[in-house]
Symmetry: C5
C-alpha cells in the first residue's frame, strides 16, 4: 500500500448532486469511483449537494476553482413537464459555460424522469448512467486511451451501447 | 444575546424581487430568513426591487459584487403567454450567467402564473416556494449538511416533496 | 434653478432605438425622461439609433462603457413572423449579456408587432411601454423606493397593471 | 483626390461570407461599400470567406481584434430544414457574443433560403439586403445621423420598407 | 523532403471526437489531413476522444489553449430523439463559445443519426462530411484562397454541393 505517499498532492474529483432528484445519484457515482484503481491513493472525491439541477453549474465551478477538482461529475434529474425540459436546457447551458470558464471537464449526468415509466428500469438507468460517467471521469484523468480505443463505437450510459453502425 | 459581537463582519444574503409579480415574494423570503438561526446576528438581509424578472440577473450580480452578498434569492413570476415563457427562459439564462461570473449561488425562484388556476393554491405556491428557497439559501451558507442529507430525496419547493423513487 | 451647478458631473441615461420599429419609441422615452425631476440638471440623456433590434445590445454596452451611461433604455419592435420571434430571443439574450458584462441595468423595451391588430391600440402600447420603462430607469437611479413600494403589485408596462392576486 | 494622404490610418470595414450560401453576398456588400463616399480614401474593406454561417462569428471577431476592423458585415444563408433554423440560431448567438466581447458592431445579414420560392425574387433579397446592410455599416461609422433620422420608420433590408404605423 | 526543418515549430491541427458516435469520424478526419500537402512537415495532428458531443467544447478549448492547436475539427453524432436535438443545440453553443473565448476556429462536424435511414448512405455522410471539414481546416490555415474562390457557391459537406442559385 502506498499510504505513506500521503504527502503527494492527490488529484481531486468532484461529485455534485441535488435534493430534487428521486435517486441518490451521487452515491452511485461515489461508489463507482471507490472501485477505480488508486482510489484514496492517487485521487480523492469531494462531494456537495445543491437544491436542484439549475444549481449544479456554479457549484461545479466552485469545486474546480475553490476546491481544486480536476474534473467534476454533475448529476441531476429533470422532471417530465415542459417547463422541466426548459429548465434542464438552462442547467445544461450553465454546465457548458462552467466548463469553458474553467477549461475543465464537467460531465453532465442527467436522467430525465420520463425516460422510463417503469420504476425498476428507471432505477437501473440512474445507477448505470451515474456509475458509467463516474468511470468516464476517472478515465479522462488517468486512462484517456480507454476513451480513444472506443471512439465511434456507439458507447452509451444508462442503456445498452448502440454499437457502431452495421452495414448489411 | 450576542449583540455585542456587532463588530464582526456579518454575512449578507440578498433578496431581489419584482414589481411585475402578483405576490410579494420578497416579503415571504425575508420572513423565512428572519426565522433562521442567527438572523441579524451572523447574517443580514439586503433587498432590492426591479421592474420585471428580466432585470433580476444584473441586480443579483450587483448585490454580490457591489454589496457583498454571499448568496442571493431572486424571485419572479413569469406570466402565462408564450412570449412570457420565452422571457422567463432569457431571465433564467441571465441568472445562470450571473452565478458563473460571480462564482456565487443565486437561487432562482420562479412561480409561473399558470401553475394553478386556483388563486388560493397559487398563493400557497408563492409562499411555500419563496420561503423554502430562502431556507435553502441559509442552509447553503451555514448548514450544508442539511442539503447533503436530503440528496436524491425528491425534495420540492412550492408543492409537496415527490420523495425518492419507490419500487414495488 | 441649479443651472450654475453645471460643473458637477451629471448622470447619463442612454436611449437606444431602431430604424426597424414602426413607431418612434426613442422619442417617447426621451419625452418621459424630460418630465422627470432633475432633467438636464442632475441627469442628461444620450441617444443612438441602430438598424434593428439585434444591434441594440452592443450599442447599449458602448453607451455604458464608452459614453458613461449609468443605465440604458433599449427599445425595439420584433415583427410577427416565427423568424422574428427567434431574432427577438437572440436580441434579448444579447441585452441580458450586455448587462452582466457591464454590471449595469439595460431595460429591454420590446413591443411585438402582433400584440394588437388595432393600430391605435398598438400605438398606445408603444407609447405607454416606452414611457413607463423610461420612468423605471429614472426610478432605479434616483428613487429606488418607488420600485420597492410596488413589489409584487402586478405592475405592467404597455397595458393596465394586473394588480396583486386577489383572493375570493 | 486625396491619395497622397495614404499615410493616415484608414478605417477598416470587414466583410465575411460563406461558401455555403448560394449567392455571392460578400461581392454585393463590397460593391455597395465601393459606392460609399471615401471608399479607399477614408476607409478600406477587408474580406474573408469561411465554410458556413456558424464559422462567421469567430472570423468576425478576428477581423476586429486581429485585423483592426471598426465594424463587420457578416453574411450567410441558412437553409430551409428545421436543423438549419437551429444552426442559424446558434450562429446568430455567436455573432451577438462576438459583438459584446469586442464592443464592436457586427451586422448579421442572413437570407433564409426559404424567404422566397422564386429564384429571381430570392436573388433580389440577397442583393438588396447585403447592400443595404453594407450601407448601414458605412452610416454607423461615418454618418450616424442617417440612422437617427430614420428612427421608428419601419426601415427594412431585403424587402420594401414597412414604413411607420399608419393610423386610420 | 523538408524533414531537416524539424526544428521549426509545426502548426498543430486538433481532432476531437466521441465514443458516442456510431462511426469513427476522427479516423476519417485524420485520414484526410494525412493527404493534405505538408502533413507531418508543416503541420501535425493532435487527437482526443471524449464521451459524448457535449464534452467536445471544453476539449477543443484545451486543444487550443493547452496543446497549441491553431484550429480544431470537432466531430460528433447527435441521436434522433427530441432530447438529442436539444443536447446537440447545447453542444453547438458550447463549441461556438469556445471559438469566441479562444479567437480560434473550431469546425463543428455533426452528423445527425436521422439524416438517413439507409446505413450505407449514413456512412457516406459520416465519411464525406468528416473529410471535407478536415480539408476546410487545412484550407483555413494554409490556403484561404480556396475558400474565397468558392464564396456563395452553395458548397456542402456530407451531401452533394447545392451550387449557386440558378435563374431560369
Amino acid at each position: 500500500m502506498a499510504k505513506h505517499k500521503k504527502s503527494a498532492k492527490k488529484v481531486r474529483i468532484g461529485v455534485v448532486d441535488t435534493m430534487f432528484a428521486r435517486y441518490d445519484m451521487g452515491a452511485a457515482a461515489r461508489f463507482e469511483l471507490s472501485q477505480c484503481p488508486g482510489y484514496d491513493e492517487k485521487f480523492t472525491v469531494i462531494s456537495q449537494t445543491v437544491p436542484g439541477f439549475k444549481d449544479l453549474a456554479v457549484a461545479a465551478k466552485n469545486l474546480i476553482e475553490r476546491d481544486g477538482c480536476s474534473i467534476v461529475v454533475a448529476l441531476g434529474m429533470p422532471g417530465s413537464a415542459p417547463i422541466d425540459k426548459q429548465c434542464a436546457h438552462e442547467a445544461a447551458l450553465g454546465i457548458m459555460q462552467a466548463q469553458l470558464l474553467t477549461s475543465t471537464p464537467i460531465l453532465e449526468v442527467f436522467v430525465h424522469e420520463d425516460e422510463s415509466s417503469d420504476p425498476e428500469e428507471l432505477v437501473s438507468v440512474f445507477e448505470n448512467r451515474s456509475r458509467k460517467h463516474a468511470r468516464n471521469a476517472y478515465w479522462m484523468l488517468f486512462e484517456p486511451e480507454q476513451l480513444s480505443q472506443r471512439a465511434g463505437q456507439g458507447i452509451r450510459q444508462g442503456f445498452d451501447d448502440a454499437g457502431p453502425l452495421s452495414l448489411p
